[in-house]
């Protein structure tokens, strides 16, 4: 199988440097060219919207049912939080998995070596990955958030009237997407730090789902304070239209707290990426 093709390329008139745009293009190629990314996103969309519809339908069909008073009251008090809390609440698992996989799959398959040979300064790889992943999530999560809202509110229409023009509603729906984006970036940072898929997914899910339960067991006001500043607890405030009496943070403050956690985690991840042998 000998080839006679030329070794040297047909020369570009002026070879241009790739720069950060090139790195973002490359990250997009990586994300779209692997089935797991595409499938995780499809599952995320289906689960979120499907589950929102299912819970809304069950709520609607069992209105005035035996367990109804508290649930119905919640649906009336904070319909947006109620609608988004179901599908998005479970969908964030998929986002955590995806955020971790985007980087750990490079470690498990060895692609990271190719990536770092191409960009030996390393940190631009993480930056480009974070930007491309965030933009992809922006599109997908906002579509999911709005679809979930419309599907949920349409099904609950008979008992709960809620529209985007209501106070804080648009903010909460957009905020649900924003929350998922930042959560995805936090998972990306955790994946970069831990480098192993299973370990990183465990840690990410532990932070999102398990820590709030543990901190909820802490007694007194300092337990409540710790709880309020956890990434998930603080971050999801933005998806509620009505502030609860016990809330220590406003929706945007809560979102800010999540962002700070994520920026810190990304900084540590960047430091470790730069320092460690690949």
């Amino acid at each position: 199988m000998t080839t006679t093709s030329p070794v040297t390329p047909t020369r570009e008139p002026a070879a241009h440097h790739a720069g950060f745009t090139g790195l973002m293009r490359a990250e997009w190629t990586k994300i779209r060219s692997v089935r797991s990314t595409v499938w995780t996103l499809i599952i995320f969309v289906v689960v979120c919207i499907g589950l929102t519809a299912l819970i809304a339908w069950l709520t609607e069909s069992h209105w005035y049912g035996p367990r109804a008073p508290s649930r119905d009251a919640r649906a009336i008090a904070d319909p947006v939080g109620f609608i988004l809390g179901t599908g998005v609440g479970l969908g964030q698992l998929a986002i955590c998995v995806l955020g971790v996989l985007v980087i750990t799959s490079e470690y498990s398959t060895g692609v990271i070596r190719a990536s770092l040979l191409a960009v030996p300064r390393r940190i631009p790889v993480l930056a480009a990955k974070a930007v491309v992943f965030a933009v992809l999530l922006l599109v997908v999560t906002e579509i999911v958030a709005f679809c979930s809202f419309f599907v949920g509110s349409a099904i609950l229409h008979a008992h709960v009237q809620v529209s985007l023009s209501g106070s804080g509603v648009t903010r909460a729906v957009i905020g649900a997407g924003l929350y998922l984006i930042v959560l995805g970036l936090l998972a990306l940072a955790i994946g970069t730090m831990i480098r192993h898929t299973a370990g990183a997914i465990s840690v990410a899910i532990g932070i999102v789902f398990v820590l709030p339960i543990l901190s909820g067991l802490l007694p007194g006001s300092w337990g409540a304070h710790i709880n309020a500043y956890l990434p998930e607890q603080a971050g999801t405030l933005i998806t509620h239209t009505a502030e609860q009496s016990g809330d220590l943070l406003s929706p945007w403050q809560g979102f800010g707290v999540l962002c700070i956690w994520t920026v810190l985690a990304l900084a540590v991840a960047a430091y470790l990426l730069e320092r460690r042998d690949a």
Binding site: T2, S5, P6, R25, E27, K30, V111, A114, L117, D277
Partner: protein, 316 residues
Amino acid sequence: MIETRDLTKLYGGKAAVDHLTFTVEPGQVTGFLGPNGAGKSTTMRLILGLDRPQSGTALINGRRYRDLRDPLRTVGALLEAKTVHPGRSARNHLLFLAQTQGLPARRVEEVLALVGLQDVADKRAGNFSLGMSQRLGVAVAMLGDPQVLLLDEPVNGLDPEGVLWIRNLMKRLAAEGRTILVSSHLMNEMAVTADHLIVIGRGKLITEASTEDVIARSTDRSVRVRTPDADRLAELITAAGGKVVRGAPAEGAGLLTVTGLESSRIGQLAASASVVLHELTPLASLEGAFMELTAGSVEFGVPGQDPVNAQEGSAR
């Protein structure tokens, strides 16, 4: 050109690369030879900035790898370890790398044609045979049309056709004036591929010379002698027409490497002068250097070398 100076890498306190200094010149194929575990891959990873050395420097055309802009246009690397996602197609793997370097998508097609993978370019790389994977690795290395190439064990596991293909490609690239560093643990392969050899063992430089010289020396039989009375014996050997090289002080003052005399003759000389011998081992010099440093690697052979004798050294 590749230059390493005093390159040192420790893993858990043990030196994988130990104060390694060498230069790889352009226009020839330089073989990087050593038994498995000698530190060849680590050295390459240090040159490529994948690992950080504890001390020392590695420069490519006078610059550190991490200081190169769009480095794949200067340096192409084929690593022994996997670097491709099994679920991604060859074309997409090459495409994302091209995008990081500002190379046009057309270049991807060119390197696919160069290695003969056009027909399977959209298949998942995980289903590639070893030979196809190796071809993809070469395509990656050639993507930026680099002046410097580092190939880690490129013929490992390839069929004879593949071996020949890689060998001819390396020669062609060297003839174009590129710098080629190719590692192998097989002396035979290097003997027919490389113009120049850098031989290492246990992370240390054993020799750096033209392939011709190394082969000439390795077929020139030598004998290792250890004695408490080294000065006396050296005199006797020289008088009898042999050549003596003193061992490094670290290996003990009493170590001599003798060429030009058979071991039996050295034994007679010592006995006649009542010189005590602690060791008397026939070796080929390169082989000897290897055995000294690598203690028991049997995967190293020299063309034309009697395999039984070569094993003696390792079985010792």
